[in-house]
Structure formats: structure tokens, C-alpha cells
Amino acid sequence: MRRNQWKIAMVFLLPYLLIFSIFRFIPSVGGLVVSFFKWSLGGDPKFVGIDNYVNLAQDGSFYTSIRNTLSFFVLTVPVLVVASLLLAMLLNQKLAGRKVMRTISIIPYVLIPSIVGIMWNWMFDNNFGLLNYYIKKLGGSPVFWLTDERFALIAVSIVVVWTYIGYDMILFLAGLQGIPKETYEAAEVDGASTFQVFWHITLPLLKPVTMMVSTLTLVNVVQLFDQIYVMTNGGPGTSTLTMVQYMYTSAFTNYELGYGSAIEVVILVLLMVLITVQNRIGNRERKVA
């Protein structure tokens, strides 16, 4: 790249890099530093080395939060990726009202998360909620969505899928519209079935988009806070206590900033591991293909 091009690129990149550095990079490095301190926010910080990490390793609630975060990941990410792809394929067809449907699909994503949480709280209400009303109408027993520890994480996962499906659909839609029509026409001439077209053309050509969607979804899901805070606040018991929720509670309810920062560092590491594994799988499949 020539020097002039570099300068132009830097002019465009600089605002983002500045904001990224101030609000993301420096705080992340700072979080690492604070994680080696015991600090109640009220008193003086005291250097404790790796004590916060040692305590984390012995903390049952922390393991619960990891288990819940991974369960949450398993419950939402595959469903979101598959469902949003199918929705994008549907809304990529020449159907009447598809533009309206695309707009409607994205509405949950642009709603304020706390409002979404409150709204679904009423929908999930055990005794007077809409879902249980219809379940009872159909002769079923009410499900205690948010108050039974067996269902709470599933209920929150439903809300997350509902929230993000439109956003992921838009990304897939952009990917689908980037596939050259000639490719499909050639396949049609060759007599390929609908499934063969999907499997051998659409899916491979969508791989970069799929990787991006799954990575973004993974990050969004692992970092999710608002809906859980509003809907369950980590409960019942600790059944929806995710790592981010636990970090918040440790830092801002228990005033253990060092401990909260240590959790933050572990979240960062976990995300990096999950994304690396995801990319490795994606790249391996690409090579095989």
C-alpha cells in the first residue's frame, strides 16, 4: 500500500481506534491489573498477586456461572445460526410482503433490552402470563418458566433467540444476495435438486458469513447481561447466573472489584478459546471442502 493510501486509511481508522482504545483496549488491560488487587472501592487497593484467581478456582458459584454460560451458549448459538439462516432464505424468496417481514424481524433487536425483559416477564408469568394461558387452554399444565430452575435458562434462551434472530437474518440475507445468480442458473441447467443447490452452493458460499454470524452471536450471548438482569437476576437460585452476571454482582454488589476483574479476565480468555476453536473448525471444514 502506498504512503498516501496509508494516510487516508489512518484518517478513517483513527476515530474508531481512539474509541476502541479508550473504551475497550485500555479498560481490558486495566481489568487485568485490577484483578491482582483486593479492592472494595471504599478502601485502598491492596496487591494480592494471584489470590483472586486462586479464590475463583475454589468458588462453587464461579463454576456454576461457567456451566450456565456454556449451557446458554449451547442453547442459543446453534439455534440462532440455523434459524436465522432459514429465515433469511425464506425472506430472500420473491414472496409478497417480504420487505415488511424483514423489517418486523429486526424490531426485537432494536428494542431496549430491559423493555424486552419486562415484556417477556409478563408473557412468562406462571399464573397470569400469556404462554401459560394458552398452555392451559390446550389442556396442558402451566410451565413455571422463570421460577423453576429447570426452565429458567431455557426461557431466557427463548428471549435471546427472539431478540437476535432478526439481526443474524439480515447478515445472512446480505450474504445470500452476494451469491452470483449465474451459479444457481448453472446448477439448474445441470439438474441439481433444491437440497443439492443448498448443500453444494449456498452453504459453502455462505461460509464466511456463517463464521462471522456465529462469532458475533457467540460474543453477544456470552456477554449478555440486560435481559438476564431484568428477567431473573441470576435466579432462581443460581440457575441463570452467567459469568457476566457474576462479574457484575462481585464488582458492583459485593464491591470486590479485584475479584470481578478476575472474572472479567477469565471471560475474555474463554471467549478467545471459543472463537479460536470455532475458527479452527470452520477453517478445517473449508480445507476439506
Binding site: 472494595s40 478502601g43 458459584s61 430452575e149 454482582t249 458492583f252 472479567e264
Partner: protein, 434 residues
């Protein structure tokens, strides 16, 4: 490393907290220019409901009653407010007065962020306040705040539904309380839980409602106190809980939900259900009293029933504390004294929010809201949580606090006392060990 240096680096979680501090507008911006400039006092509270409006109105009334002091009042949900308070304190920008509950005093006093000398300098007298409220402001034999009010649980009840069920007076013991709750619970076919064929899946009206969060622990706390058992103390270094002694309390609450089926499983908002006529009785606090002006049916309140050997009910008191300041400012100290003295003496207005003023003069002159008498009757036996230095962790309303896990294992998961009491003990001891 000095805390300021760490804060100034803008590291990790700190920038987020400091960001909150920046939003405050600054507690240090006091009006200390000429003597004619009014002193500015920054006042933080944790009220978010109807009581927020009442406190704001009191502050406005104080501001317009004189020209020497101007109070800038802001209120956030309690936990967020405390985070903001501590962040401001670290930034050397501490508010001048902060409201909190008595059980939270221990933690902040131990952090060293509260100024007991400034409170002592107010020269308040115990005789001027309700004893229970006054005693709650003392930690390690030092005064840490000005008592503002007392609040507690009692039972709201629907007099129309009581009359329809043929219940003439509010039940006061265990047997009559359970019997009344059963009579008041009616399914879609008009059957009660004691009737054959009662359909628990289609209940029109439940006899009783209560919160299934940390307030369920507060009920258990009241019930063990009724049995004369209270192992929670302000100076506990570890705790030993006896499942046998807590079993009656746990069993009583669980049975109401899962055996007698008179309480909706997983109820979210008993007071809203009560106002909608979906529950006939609801256990809740006096802070709800100001929200009953538009309720159409006849209602009243009654003291929390005596289930055990003696009367006891969970309660709390709100106090106004004075945080330590980095710079001594005599003019501002005088302004704080003037405001807090006024607030204590004029807290009769605070009773409009449903709270019981802690100041005796205000208490005697308050206009009583309908339903407050049952709460006042409980003043003699209300039980506060201890002001332990780790109280906000042990008694937190957010997961995974020990009391929340215990409460939800009890009222949502129907787990036996033999399982959940040892877990509560272990969870509390894990915090106390840190």
C-alpha cells in the same frame, strides 16, 4: 498502589465506575465562594417508586424554605446508588449526605467512608427518635446516621373477599391463618384446596401472595425469631445454623405454596396481584401504602401473623449518613447539619410515602395513611437484620447471595430444611472467611 493512582489510570472496571461518577455532576462543587452564596449539598438516595416523589418534594420544600443551603437530590436503585457513591468517593467527589438502611451501615463504616464524627457533631438525642430506629444507627458504639424511618412487613387483605368467604376478622394464629387462606383460595369451579376435585392449575383467586425473592428469606427470618432463634449477629465471624430450629419456618412457607396450595407458585408481584383481586392477602411492606388511592375494593392491613411462640416481623430502617470528605469545609458542615436537622423534624411529610417517621415529633404529627396502623403496631417487636461488615454480600438481593439462594430453594424449589439450611450456613461462612 494508591487508590487514586489506580483510579486515575482508568483501569479495568474502574473507568465504568468513574463514568458513573462523571455523570453525577460532582459532589465537590460546593458553593463556597462568598458568604452570601448558598452552600450546595449533594444528597443521594435509593428510592425509585412513589417514595422518590415524596422525598423530592421534601427537598424542594427545604430549598424554598431558606436561602442559605441548596440541596441537590438524586436517586437511583439502592445497589447502583451505592456503587456511584463509592466511585464518587474514590474520585474525591463524595456526596454530602447518603441514605441507606441500618443493616448496610456496618459495611460502609468498615470501609471507612462514613463520618461518625460529623454525625456526633449533630448532637442528636436518643429521646427524640423511636428507640428501634435510633439503635439501628449505632455501629461499634458510634453513631453513623440520622434515623429517617422504619419499615416492615405486614399483611394487606381484601375485606370484600373476606366478607364473601364469611371471614369476619383477620386471623392471628397459624391455624386460623391457614384456614382463612384455604377459604379464600378458589378455583375456576368455585372449589377450595380442601375440597375434593380442587383444580390447582386453574385458580381464580389465591388466599395469599408473597414475594419469592430475598423477601421470602425475610419471612423465614421473622418466623425463626418468632421461635426465639436468631443466629445472625453483627459481629459473627462464622455461623452455625440449626436445621431443626429453622425447619418449622421453612416448612410453614413451603407448605403454604406446595401442600396447601394457597399461594401462587413463583409469584412475581404480590401487591399487583392483590390490587387486581387475584390474591386475597399479600405480605408486603408499608412502602406500598401510598399506591392504594385508586383501588376500588375495601382493603386493610393486619400485623404479620404469629405462627411461632412469640410475635416477630422482619423490618428495616432508613437512615441518612454523612460520608467523609477529603477537605474540611465548616460552612458546608453547617449546611449539612441544618438540612439533616430540618429533615428529621419535618419527616412527617415522609409519612405520605407510607413510611413511619423515626423522629418522635414527626411521628406524632404525621397524617396517617390508611393501613399504617398495622405497621405501627409491629414497632415493638420488629426485627432488623444485623449491621454486619459483610451484610451487603450476605443479605444481598442479587444472585448468588446466600439468602436469595436459600429463599428460592425454599419457595420455588420446595427443598427441605435439612438441605438448604446447611447450604445457607456454608455460603455465609464462605463470605465470612474472606
Amino acid at each position: 498502589m494508591k487508590r487514586r493512582n489506580l483510579l486515575a489510570l482508568g483501569l479495568g472496571l474502574v473507568p465504568a465506575v468513574a463514568g458513573l461518577a462523571a455523570c453525577s455532576g460532582g459532589g465537590a462543587a460546593s458553593g463556597t465562594g462568598s458568604d452570601t452564596t448558598p452552600s450546595k449539598i449533594v444528597y443521594y438516595g435509593g428510592w425509585t417508586g412513589a417514595d422518590l416523589d415524596k422525598m423530592q418534594a421534601m427537598v424542594t420544600k427545604y430549598n424554598s424554605s431558606q436561602t442559605k443551603v441548596q440541596v441537590e437530590f438524586s436517586s437511583l436503585q439502592w445497589t447502583n446508588m451505592f456503587t456511584k457513591f463509592l466511585a464518587d468517593y474514590q474520585a474525591g467527589n463524595s456526596p454530602d449526605v447518603v441514605a441507606m438502611h441500618t443493616f448496610e451501615i456496618g459495611q460502609f463504616a468498615d470501609m471507612g467512608v462514613l463520618d461518625t464524627d460529623a454525625v456526633a457533631a449533630l448532637n442528636l438525642k436518643r429521646d427524640d427518635f423511636l428507640p428501634i430506629a435510633w439503635d439501628g444507627t449505632t455501629y461499634n458504639s458510634k453513631p453513623y446516621g440520622v434515623p429517617l424511618d422504619v419499615n416492615m412487613h405486614a399483611v394487606y387483605y381484601n375485606k370484600d373477599l373476606f366478607a364473601a368467604a364469611g371471614i369476619s376478622s383477620f386471623p392471628t394464629d397459624k391455624a386460623s391463618f391457614v384456614a382463612a387462606a384455604q377459604k379464600l383460595t378458589v378455583d375456576a369451579k368455585g372449589k377450595h384446596p380442601t375440597d375434593v376435585g380442587f383444580d390447582a392449575q386453574n385458580v381464580n383467586t389465591y388466599g395469599l401472595g408473597f414475594l419469592m425473592n430475598h423477601h421470602a428469606f425475610y419471612q423465614a427470618y421473622a418466623l425463626i425469631n418468632q421461635d426465639g432463634y436468631n443466629p445472625f449477629t453483627a459481629d459473627m465471624k462464622s455461623i452455625s445454623l440449626d436445621p431443626a430450629k429453622m425447619s418449622p419456618a421453612v416448612g410453614f412457607l413451603e407448605d403454604l405454596i406446595f401442600t396447601q396450595k394457597v399461594v401462587p407458585v413463583g409469584e412475581k408481584s404480590p401487591i399487583d396481584d392483590f390490587k387486581a383481586g387475584k390474591v386475597a392477602m399479600a405480605v408486603d411492606g408499608n412502602w406500598q401504602l401510598s399506591g392504594f388511592s385508586d383501588v376500588k375494593f375495601k382493603w386493610d392491613t393486619a400485623p404479620y401473623p404469629q405462627i411461632g411462640a412469640q410475635k416477630a416481623v422482619w423490618g428495616a430502617a432508613e437512615v441518612i449518613t454523612i460520608p467523609k470528605q477529603t477537605k474540611k469545609d465548616e460552612k458546608k458542615a453547617a449546611a449539612v447539619k441544618d438540612f439533616l436537622t430540618w429533615l428529621a423534624q419535618n419527616s412527617a411529610d415522609w409519612a405520605k410515602s407510607g413510611q413511619i417517621p423515626a423522629n418522635k415529633a414527626s411521628y406524632n404529627s404525621m397524617t396517617k395513611l390508611p393501613g399504617i396502623d398495622a405497621y405501627i403496631a409491629e414497632l415493638d417487636y420488629v426485627k432488623f437484620l444485623p449491621a454486619h461488615p459483610q451484610a451487603t454480600k450476605i443479605f444481598s438481593s442479587a444472585a448468588p447471595s446466600p439468602i436469595l439462594t436459600f429463599a428460592q430453594d425454599m419457595v420455588l424449589n420446595d427443598k427441605p430444611a435439612s438441605t438448604i439450611v446447611p447450604k445457607l450456613q456454608d455460603d455465609i461462612n464462605a463470605i465470612l472467611k474472606k
